[in-house]
């Protein structure tokens, strides 16, 4: 049997592939790479594209939208991204998160403090109860 290497393809939300293969092909940022057993340690980022593994002469394909690939002497790890990643997309998401925070702060400043109102309400109803009780006992 040909030499094999262990491959794990995982994304943040699930495991995609794990097993012994003869070779791995992936689209790295610098171009397509092929990894055979005993490849030197390598750490590279991946572009959106397919990751192919060669098992018993048969090819299996997975699509990844980017990620990282690590080669260790006996194991290849593909950390796939679940979504399209780009600096400007990340930036937009960051700005959205910031704005959401600002908005909720502005809202809470406008609105009356809910907890405070609730405390006042509890106090008022306690007073009311006392008054009612006093009135009842006075009525008798």
């Amino acid at each position: 049997m040909a030499m094999t290497i262990h491959v794990d393809v995982v994304s943040a939300e699930k495991e995609i592939y794990s097993g012994l293969v003869e070779a791995v092909f992936a689209t790295a940022t610098m171009g397509e790479i092929g990894i055979y057993p005993r490849h030197t340690p390598l750490l590279t980022s991946l572009k959106a594209g397919e990751v192919r593994v060669l098992v018993n002469g048969q090819e299996e394909q997975f699509y990844v939208s980017g990620g990282m690939l690590e080669v260790q002497p006996h194991v290849v790890t593909v950390l796939a991204d679940t979504a399209m990643r780009a600096d400007d997309v990340d930036e937009a998401a960051a700005i959205a998160a910031k704005e959401a925070a600002e908005k909720s702060l502005a809202e809470s400043a406008e609105k009356l403090d809910y907890a405070e109102v609730q405390a006042q309400l509890a106090e008022a109803s306690a007073q009311l109860r006392v008054v009612q009780r006093a009135r009842k006992s006075a009525g008798r």
Binding site: A12, E13, T40, P41, S45, M68, A83, A93, A94
Partner: protein, 288 residues
Amino acid sequence: MASGKEIRTQIGSIKNTQKITRAMEMVAASKMRKAQERMAATRPYSNKIHNVIQHLAFAHPEYKHTYLQEREEKTRVGYIVVSSDRGLCGGLNNNLFRTLLKDIQEKTDSGIEIDVCAIGKKATSFFSRLPVTLTAQVTQLGEEPSAEELVGAVKVMLDAFEEGRIDSLYLVFNEFVNTMTQENKVMKLLPNVQAELSEGMSHHWDYIYEPDAKEVLDSLLVRYIESLVYQGVVENAACEQASRMVAMKSASDNAGDLIDDLQLVYNKARQAAITQEISEIVAGAAAV
């Protein structure tokens, strides 16, 4: 003593409440199972990326990333707080916030300011009332939180760290131990010095980096932090369901106890009414 009819309506309304809590309990139980599966599904990724980071510590990259450099906590500290969007889950969020508040109190006492990134509605509403800076928020993650939705919020904090606005970054979430136990956890994300501990015990080797070490390490470390946060969110979601299930179970049990008590009161009242009626009739008959 309350009349029979009043007690009956009271029992009826408690029964309705019990029906609701029991339904919520069952819903939470099934959601918890799913959340646990999701938790298990994310494990391979976080394990693998952790391994890679460990390998990196053994390697001797010519480029030292800011995330791995020790820094003193001096002026400002960041927290990423994971909470649930909805209530009715027992003391889950409040316990977490209480633990965190103690931490924050200590920091503010020594003159350190706090930045908070809130994940989940409860954290947002809690921290907007405190003297901390809310720098980012994500809400409405739903039952299936996706890693994608967290990217923005995490980036806000990472940028702040990189630019030196915060000196360290913590992740605060509930760790799922089992259905009955959830543990409050405050985990230090940055600077991540533990990766450096194993240095010195390995022979010299390094990766080939493509395109170059800086770029690769940058995106790898960002993903590492994101995966930790995502893991925290997923675990917190499982905790939320577990805690809701337990809370709803005890609510149903309480409702059951209340109904039993009221039933007793009702029976007594009914018996008293009957006895009174009989004695009235007897007295009436004797008078004739």
